[in-house]
């Protein structure tokens, strides 16, 4: 084993030095976002490559969608949103239909109320088959239930087969993006992890690294007792599961081992196969701008007698884990999400802080919604506020989830639950009160002006409507402002003063 060249640390190494993958996604609650944000924003490397990778993918999405849909881009997003919304509005009906059809096709369908139940069902199946080795494809919901750790704890070796996830598993790291989980890592750190964990010669050539991973993983597929997957879509009227992958690993996981278990959140339902193309057209384009995911795999039941391959036994574990709570009308729209990651790529905040700053399995704008509603608003008070509400996510979302609107809703819920700071509450109360009458508003503005102008610097113009200056440091609620930039001071005269003069000069009112 050669030693890895270069002493520079990667984003994840420097941000999460003392953490393993588990702690990154399951931090101490209530979660304090600021510490990780500090680490991420001070990490020049993370700033550079998360920023550039997300911007590139966002542009690829825009180009791919504009090429394919032209002026109908908005319409197909609306259609996809409507299909999901309709399905969620009638989810009880479609789940029942799905269970009936999947069962008729020979699948064992299970329902798990929470992560613990889901993992218990999975572990029971493993134990029934005396499983020693599980291969799995990428699945966010297995991250959510922390399945891999739980299986390893009962002695079942569980291998991630998505290349990105595999690398993260080798390096004891955690995904930081829904679609490109190792967006925060560079190739040198991957090379080091391969050398350390697999005992191979150090290389940072992506092609070579992929070949090594492929060689290791091929054997695992053959040896595995159980293959696991998530599910991108469940099709109610046929009881089928559709998985979309770009590496073919999902197909191997679900067809080579004798037993297949799919973990799927209940919101992944669509009514019928005829609706699937709408999502297949949008999913990959929204994620990386490519016309379609390479492997789109639709499974209906286990292997039939005449078929040459496929699992002999198939289980689908339908996972609730907080979803029925989110299904209430006020928040239902959030469950439309198809996990394409477009909102992450478009988000200027995600670009700066990276996925691990969100302290949960679901990062980015959609994570800032889903994490608090799944895991308790009081546990994740920071997330709804970690957005400038710029609306880029809403514009990118293929199912038109109005993310800014719901972020504000969560902020409002936090305030309704008295989770805001007392000083903030008083400050906004006073401010709001001062806006009730124009004279109070103006007086408050003038007082603020006098206060700020006492600290004035850099006034360049004598015009009373333009003699703005700068303050370098202010106390109180605006202190955060001057931490990073100067605060402009108002000129000595406001618009109202000019209006009065203007009216006088016209000889009017």
């Amino acid at each position: 084993m050669s030693s890895a060249p270069g002493s520079q640390t990667t984003a994840s190494e420097s941000v999460e030095l003392t953490m393993d993958g588990h702690d990154i996604l399951f931090p101490k609650l209530p979660y304090d976002m600021k510490q990780r944000v500090q680490g991420a924003t001070n990490n020049a490397e993370l700033q550079e490559f998360v920023n550039s990778a997300t911007r590139m993918r966002d542009q690829m999405r825009i180009n791919g969608c504009k090429d394919a849909f032209g002026d109908n881009y908005d319409k197909i997003r609306a259609l996809a949103g409507d299909i999901k919304q309709h399905t969620l509005d009638n989810l009880d009906y479609y789940i029942e239909q799905f269970i009936d059809n999947a069962t008729a096709a020979g699948t064992n369908v299970h329902y798990a109320a929470d992560a613990e139940e889901a993992n218990a069902i999975c572990k029971e199946i493993c134990q029934k088959h005396n499983a020693k080795l599980v291969v799995k494809s990428k699945s966010m919901v297995t991250e959510e239930t922390n399945l891999v750790h739980e299986l390893e704890a009962i002695g079942v070796e569980t291998i991630e087969t998505d290349l990105g996830e595999y690398i993260l598993q080798l390096d004891h790291d955690a995904p930081s993006h829904l679609v490109t989980p190792m967006i925060h890592k560079n190739r040198a750190s991957v090379g080091r992890a391969f050398a350390r964990e697999l005992g191979v010669e150090y290389t940072d050539d992506p092609g070579e690294l992929t070949k090594i991973a492929r060689r290791v993983l091929r054997d695992k597929y053959r040896q595995a007792d159980i293959g696991m997957s998530g599910g991108n879509f469940m099709i109610a009227d046929s009881g089928s599961v559709c998985i979309c992958t770009n590496e073919g690993n999902g197909r191997l996981c679900t067809s080579v081992p004798p037993v297949h278990i799919a973990y799927i959140g209940i919101e992944k339902m669509i009514p019928s196969r005829k609706h699937l193309p709408v999502f297949l057209k949008l999913l990959s384009r929204s994620a990386i701008g490519s016309p379609i995911t390479v492997y789109n795999h639709i499974m209906t039941g286990p292997k039939r007698n005449a078929e040459p391959d496929g699992p002999q036994e198939q289980h689908i574990i339908l996972i609730d884990n907080g979803r029925t709570e989110v299904l209430k009308p006020e928040t239902r729209e959030m469950l439309r999400c198809i996990r394409c990651g477009a909102c992450l790529n478009s988000c200027p905040v995600y670009r700066k802080v990276g996925g691990h700053s969100y302290g949960s399995v679901y990062p980015g704008p959609i994570g800032a919604l889903l994490t608090p509603v799944f895991k308790g608003l009081a546990n994740y008070k920071d997330l709804p506020y970690a957005s400038s509400l710029c609306g880029a996510c809403y514009e990118a979302c293929p199912v038109k989830i109005n993310i800014p609107k719901y972020l504000i809703q969560l902020r409002s819920d936090l305030i309704g639950g008295k989770h805001d700071k007392f000083t903030d509450r008083v400050f906004f109360k006073l401010w709001s009160f001062s806006l009730k009458k124009a004279w109070m508003y103006r007086l408050a503005g003038k007082m603020a002006g006098v206060f700020l102008r006492l600290r004035n610097k850099g006034v360049k113009n004598k015009n009373p409507y333009l003699n703005r200056g700068w303050v370098e440091k202010v106390p109180g609620p605006a202190a955060g402002w001057t931490e990073k930039r100067d605060l402009v001071t108002p000129p000595t005269k406001d618009f109202r003063s000019w209006w009065d003069e203007h009216q006088k000069s016209k000889g009017g009112k």
Binding site: T41, K405, K484
Partner: protein, 252 residues
């Protein structure tokens, strides 16, 4: 036509010259401008922070103040978006004010879009002549009033100004990191975002940044000031007013 000006709190106190420019342009075009003096703020700071009840009181006041207006024009995409997008949300359970909120939204226009979409004006035809090398900051809230991409449309308008040398900024669609209270709650994130924006502005080597939203201006100009990058911030309204000889050209 009779046009009522909604000045916005930031323009009123911090950037009055923008309001002066708007009034002078509209009067120059032969319209009667009125300024309902009881107006204050649209309530966006409270709304975005989550104080919905407080916002409702302010929104009601705004709705009442402009109830009799035919047309409301405001020099801010952000405040227009607040009225367009969020007033409805506030009055979901109040049919009387919901109707009034929708009526206000229907007659409220951001100033530049009012010139182009309602008055159908072209700045070249109007004879706007202005000298300077300028870039433009795409404010995010133009998305909230249906301008996709956040401002490419405004760039087309800017390019109609004779004599103006336009320089395109990199990452135009990326937010400057203002976000109201976000800038105070998360100075670290917001600060990194605005530094990115300042670097993009530096790269343009422009002498002016055209920025039509006062919130963005406060944020970006404050960051330029901190970074020691000398660049002037101006609104397109001020450029038009200067370019028509309605305002003296000044060191903004």
């Amino acid at each position: 036509m009779k046009i009522d000006l909604f000045i916005t709190c930031l323009a009123d106190s911090y950037y009055p010259r923008t309001g002066i420019a708007v009034v002078k342009i509209l009067e120059h075009l032969g319209h009667e401008v009125r300024f309902p003096r009881e107006q204050t703020c649209c309530g966006q700071p409270m709304f975005n922070t989550g104080y919905k009840d407080d916002t409702r009181t302010i929104a009601k006041k705004m709705i009442d103040v402009f109830e009799d207006s035919d047309i409301v024009v405001t020099p801010s995409g952000s405040c227009a978006a607040m009225i367009h997008e969020n007033y409805e949300v506030l009055f979901e359970n109040d049919p009387v004010y919901l109707k009034k909120a929708k009526a206000l939204a229907a007659k409220t226009h951001e100033f530049i879009l009012f010139l182009t979409d309602v008055l159908k004006l072209n700045l070249t035809d109007l004879g706007v002549q202005w000298k300077g090398k300028a870039t433009y900051h795409y404010s995010c809230h133009l998305r909230g009033i249906g301008v996709e991409g956040g401002g490419a449309k405004v760039v087309d308008v800017i390019k109609q100004v004779n004599g103006l040398e336009y320089v395109q900024i990199d990452k135009p669609e990326q937010c400057c990191g203002f976000g109201g209270t976000f800038a105070m709650k998360y100075p670290q994130i917001s600060g990194t975002m605005v530094e990115d924006k300042v670097n993009c502005i530096k790269d343009t080597q422009a002498d002016y940044v055209i920025c039509n939203d006062a919130g963005c201006t406060m944020n970006i100009s404050g960051s330029c000031q901190r970074a020691g990058h000398e660049v002037k911030f101006i609104t397109l309204a001020e450029i038009i007013a200067e370019g028509l000889g309605l305002l003296e050209v000044e060191n903004v």
